[in-house]
């Protein structure tokens, strides 16, 4: 509500400190965060080295984290785009991603992609599926915005949050009726586990190539679109001040719709990658992924595109290391503990937020 860039008076947060203490706290606030982020990989790298093993295992963890994190990054971009423009945590976004996965899983057979399809047909077919998924999820997201959020534009800030939760439930129910309550398997079209090459003991699999190979061009295209195109400019203007943007002749409603379309398209592409990467889809996957991706968006600084990508990748790496070294059952707690610590060190996220409230 407070439309002002001023931070709360620091005197309330902490009392006057001695100069040594302030220097220490300055050092902590500058370097503490980076020390924190590097903690997990460094600890396990040192452990591997002192145990007489090379760095290949930690390298493998980081690589898998990168490819896993790029999926989270794609979803997180959707959160951050929407948050940047209408300051809404779009709880339904994770479920839009889930629907993307389901569309992909349903369409593979329809357009004749099987395990024996040749490489050329496979690539062509996957591009077609990618486009279908993106269009489906983009239009779904636009529809949700029209029905659920637009009528509440002038309502209290939390009202659209509840409609978002409502749509999340509805989409989950659609997924439940579509493919049932237990995870459904997807044909392993790209032979995800097959090795592509090995470098310094780090094995790159096809799934990694796919995830990074789809994510990087999409993120570059999105960044260019937002920074160069007319519509992207309109989006940035609307994010900064919708009223002023309207006065400048920008159609705010169209711009917001376009933002939702972009977010949905990214979620759709993430859905396809996820289906090929994990080779199972589940109606509940969107909920979990949404939670992780939203965390990633906040971690990087909400409203900030680079922040969302960075946050997604960091969470992916933390998850992989934790899965591999500590135990997958503790992974969510570790991810969220990192989130809390990052929020303590940098309340505005890693790169810094770009929202109206931040000024």
């Amino acid at each position: 509500m407070a439309d002002t860039p001023i931070d709360p008076p620091p005197a309330v947060v902490s009392g006057p400190r001695a100069s040594v203490g302030s220097r220490v706290s300055h050092a902590i606030s500058t370097w503490g965060l980076w020390a924190l982020l590097a903690a997990l990989p460094v600890i396990y790298a040192v452990k591997d080295l002192s145990g007489g093993h090379g760095l290949s295992r930690i390298g493998q963890n980081v690589l898998e984290g990168l490819s896993n994190g790029s999926i989270w990054a794609l979803i997180a971009l959707g959160y951050t785009l929407v948050y940047g423009i209408i300051e809404l945590i779009n709880f339904a976004h994770g479920d839009v991603f889930m629907i993307g996965s389901f569309v992909a899983a349903g369409i593979f057979g329809t357009i004749g992609l099987t395990l024996t399809t040749g490489p050329l047909g496979l690539v062509g077919g996957l591009v077609v599926v990618l486009i279908i998924c993106m269009v489906a999820c983009g239009s779904l997201n636009v529809m949700i915005e029209k029905v659920g959020y637009r009528p509440l534009r002038s309502a209290p800030k939390l009202a659209p949050l509840i409609t978002a939760v409502g749509f999340s439930f509805i989409l989950q129910n659609v997924g439940l009726l579509w493919l049932g309550g237990s995870p459904a398997s997807v044909p392993d079209l790209i032979h995800a586990q097959q090795d592509v090459f090995t470098l310094w003991g780090i094995t790159v699999q096809r799934a990694d190539v796919l995830a990074i190979g789809v994510t990087v061009p999409l993120v570059v295209a999105l960044t260019l679109f937002i920074s160069r195109s007319r519509l992207g400019k309109a989006m940035r203007a609307t994010a900064q001040d919708p009223d002023a943007a309207r006065l400048m002749g920008i159609n705010v409603d169209t711009t917001i719709s376009a933002t939702f379309a972009l977010g949905g398209m990214l979620a759709g592409s993430a859905g396809l990658i996820y289906a090929l990467y994990q080779t199972t889809v589940w109606y509940f996957q969107g909920f979990q992924a949404g939670l992780i991706a939203f965390t990633a968006a906040v971690m990087g600084g909400i409203g900030n595109l680079r922040g969302a990508v960075l946050g997604g990748i960091i969470i992916g790496v933390i998850q992989q290391i934790s899965d591999n070294r500590i135990g997958p059952e503790w992974t969510p707690a570790i991810v969220f503990a990192f989130l809390v610590l990052i929020m303590v060190f940098r309340p505005q996220g890693l790169i810094g937020e770009e929202t109206r409230e931040a000024g």
């Binding site: 947060v13 309502a155 509805i170 989950q172």
Partner: protein
């Protein structure tokens, strides 16, 4: 826009509110209270309806607690399930045979007095649960003090999830030594001691009326506390922070203390409800403490009308009944009667989501909006109408 809250303009209020006699709301409240007290006498003591009522009232307590944090102080808390978990586990630790190596009995009689484990009287457990949750609330609140808006939401969400993970994996965490695991994970701690109040027989699952009256008493107590808090100096400080943190701070509202009080009060209330639910459901299972519970309670608060005590009570009762009775029991036969071949139970949360969307679009400020919010809403609409006119000219 936000400064309106500090001084309510009386003309708006007068024009937008139908005038009811001042005694009317008081009489209505007493009538509803009396009806609520007498209601179980007209139903079978083990009927499903009473069961749903008990659960609904427990949710009312939860929602009232969350309303202190979200509605009064404006701190969006998405991890409220943490206090359900802590309250429930207090019952598991202090009122069951879970720590079978221990042998502690405090003011218990009957069956519980002979069993191994730690057995403490339920009233003491209730107080301990509230105290533990208040401490947890402050600990969770501390890292959010520098944060704003939705960042608070994500940090509280993170704590809720961390506690959920600890609940699930707690059977392998033995911080108190061997034989004293933290939780029983997905297996659940069951059975739990039956509630024994002074001068009354122990409660049992064959007569739900005592449970109903106990939770009703807790509801009345919490209602009293919450209304007194709202109208106190502290309550006004919460609203001031909600409306404009910087203005509040410069007016001399101590931000840290006020916010932490909100977290502690909300958490303590949630912990009491959690302890009651654990005893009533007779199990403490890690799967109960998922993120969806936080969302469910938040939906009650927002649907009812954030900050409005009676709205939140209404929202909690409605959503609880829709979820526990309307969808599984009442509507389940409908498709069969229409010769449609599906189970409505499969559509349960789809219908729930649909209802959330519809109600929110029809009444964006909630079913019974807080008076202050209602005025703000009205003012917002006026501003927009004038903008439209200018555009047309």
């Amino acid at each position: 826009m936000t400064s309106v809250a500090a001084s309510d303009p009386p003309p708006v209020q007068a024009s937008r509110r139908p005038s009811v006699p001042p005694w009317f709301s008081r009489v209505a409240a007493i009538a509803i209270g009396v009806t609520a007290i007498l209601m179980p006498l007209f139903f079978d003591p083990i009927s499903g309806f009473i069961d749903d009522c008990v659960v609904a009232l427990a949710y009312v307590v939860m929602a009232l607690g969350l309303n202190v944090v979200v509605g009064f102080a404006g701190l969006l808390d998405l991890g409220y399930v943490a206090f359900f978990a802590i309250g429930a586990y207090t019952v598991g630790w202090l009122g069951s045979s879970f720590f079978s190596k221990a042998d502690v009995h405090v003011l218990v009689s009957g069956n519980a007095a002979t069993l191994p484990g730690i057995h403490v009287n339920f009233l003491i457990i209730l107080v301990v649960a509230a105290a533990l949750c208040a401490i947890a609330g402050i600990l969770i609140g501390l890292p959010t003090l520098r944060l704003r808006g939705d960042y608070i939401a994500i940090v509280t969400l993170a704590f809720g999830e961390i506690i959920h993970v600890f609940a699930v994996n707690g059977d392998s965490v033995k911080i108190f030594g061997n034989g004293y695991p933290l939780t029983a994970g997905r297996q659940g701690i069951t059975p739990v001691d039956q509630v024994k109040l002074p001068f009354l027989d122990p409660f049992n699952q064959l007569n739900l009326r005592p449970w109903y009256w106990l939770i009703l008493a807790i509801v009345f107590l919490v209602l009293f506390v919450v209304i007194r808090l709202r109208d106190s100096r502290l309550g006004r400080a919460w609203v001031a922070i909600r409306e404009d943190e910087i203005a509040a701070a410069s007016m001399g509202v101590p931000l840290v203390k006020t916010k932490l009080f909100a977290y502690a009060a909300g958490a303590a209330i949630g912990g009491m409800s959690g302890a009651f639910l654990a005893a009533y459901l007779n199990t403490i299972n890690a799967d109960q403490f998922a993120f969806s519970f936080s969302i469910f309670v938040l939906a009650m608060v927002i649907l009812g009308g954030m900050g409005s005590v009676w709205g939140v009570v209404l929202g909690a009762v409605l959503l609880s009944f829709i979820n526990n009775r309307l969808i599984p029991d009442v509507l389940n036969g409908v498709p069969g009667k229409l010769h449609l071949d599906f189970q409505l139970a499969d559509l349960g949360f789809g219908i729930f989501g649909f209802l959330l969307v519809i109600v929110m679009i029809m009444r964006p400020a909630g079913l019974l909006p807080e008076r202050r919010h209602r005025i703000e809403m009205a003012e917002d609409i006026d501003v927009q109408e004038t903008m439209y006119d200018e555009e047309r000219q």
